[in-house]
Amino acid sequence: MSAILFRDVRLAARAGGSAMLALAFFAAVATLVPLGVGADLRLLAKIAPGVLWVAAVLAALLALDRLFQADFEDGSLDVVALAPPSLEATAFAKIAAHWLTTGLPLTLLSPLLAVMFGLETSGALFVSLLIGTPAVSAIGAIGAGLTLSIRRGGLILPLIVLPLLAPAVIFGAGAAQEVAGALPLLAAFSLVACVLSPFATAAAVRLNLGS
């Protein structure tokens, strides 16, 4: 299982690296928003937690459609499915790899963006992203598993996954604003998502392989 984790991280870090793409997207959104709403730091600080959370979700979604599709198209998924690790374990490894290459870098970049938005509570933002972005990877993986055989699956995946991610954004942004009770709710949601998602994801992948 760790073999898959290391391979996926290595692939993401190489040419076509999705890590850089996600970071660039995150930064782009965060830069365009002030251009759009104006330079009033008080306003920016007010909307920062929500805006940065949405930007993080979108950035994480960027590479999701290729999570399984790339392996599916070059035949690796067939071989991996027949390998000793169960498909659930494989799904978990891929979710972890996705988080390590999108969620984690985004979290690490967030303090810098918090400064650009004049946000005082950057610690809260950091913690909320750290705990919440695994849920985004986990739930997104379900969508990736469902759409892996669709050629332009990338267009449908956000639509499918969007409503499912609403709680993450709600609790995450709430936690970033240090709203009482938000962080435990976020942690609970993340935990449940990470535990249950591999099963749903594996079921979806199994279905798509059976043809």
């Binding site: 759409t147 639509l159 499918i160 709600i170 709203v179 749903a200 079921a203 979806a204 279905l207 043809s211």
Partner: protein, 237 residues
Amino acid sequence: MLRYANPTRFLQLSSALVPWLGAASAALFAIGLYLGFRVPPDYQQGETVRVMFIHVPAAWTAMMGYGLMAAASLVGLVWRHPLADTAARAAAPLGALFTALGLVTGSLWGRPMWGAWWVWDGRLTSFLLLEFLYLGYIALWNAIEDEARAARVCAILALVGAVNLPIIEFSVDWWTTLHQGESILRKGGPLISSVYLWPLFTMALAYTFLFFTLWLLRIETEILRRRARNALLAEGP
């Protein structure tokens, strides 16, 4: 129940039931609307409270629709019941329509009170997310070429959505308590006096019958369409 798994038997049952369900629905709508107009206007909202009788039952039906779709998906996935797959597929556009109706009527209901066509009220926001769940399901089904695989894949999506729905509702509820906002669309609606309950329940029944009528009709149509297609293919060149 399993007897009606056979498409022919199902068609027999369905064609017997549909006229009754349709008639009952029409009758209930008539009664419900009549009662709805006879009821005295709300002291606060005036005449616009009557929109409630169209909005709230639509909302209930939309939720029920998703539940039915998820249940049919489960049956299709676990017991490989082909009719269950068709039933789930047939329910989706209906649910999406009722949800859209709920959104529009919710907006209409709120406009006089809030002065805006849309507010991020807890109810309406949850509804919008439900609409996306429906649309995602329909889009996914249409995107997968293999019918059987589309059914299975969408079944998983429907079940994941069903499990998530309570969580989504909860989180949106929590979110609305954070941010200020007047909500006349709280759970159960505004303080409903018993006078309003009769028209409300009548309309709810009317909507339910309507849903089932349309649902059965859609399933029938799909069965017949498939038969026609198979007959055409069997004829050969």
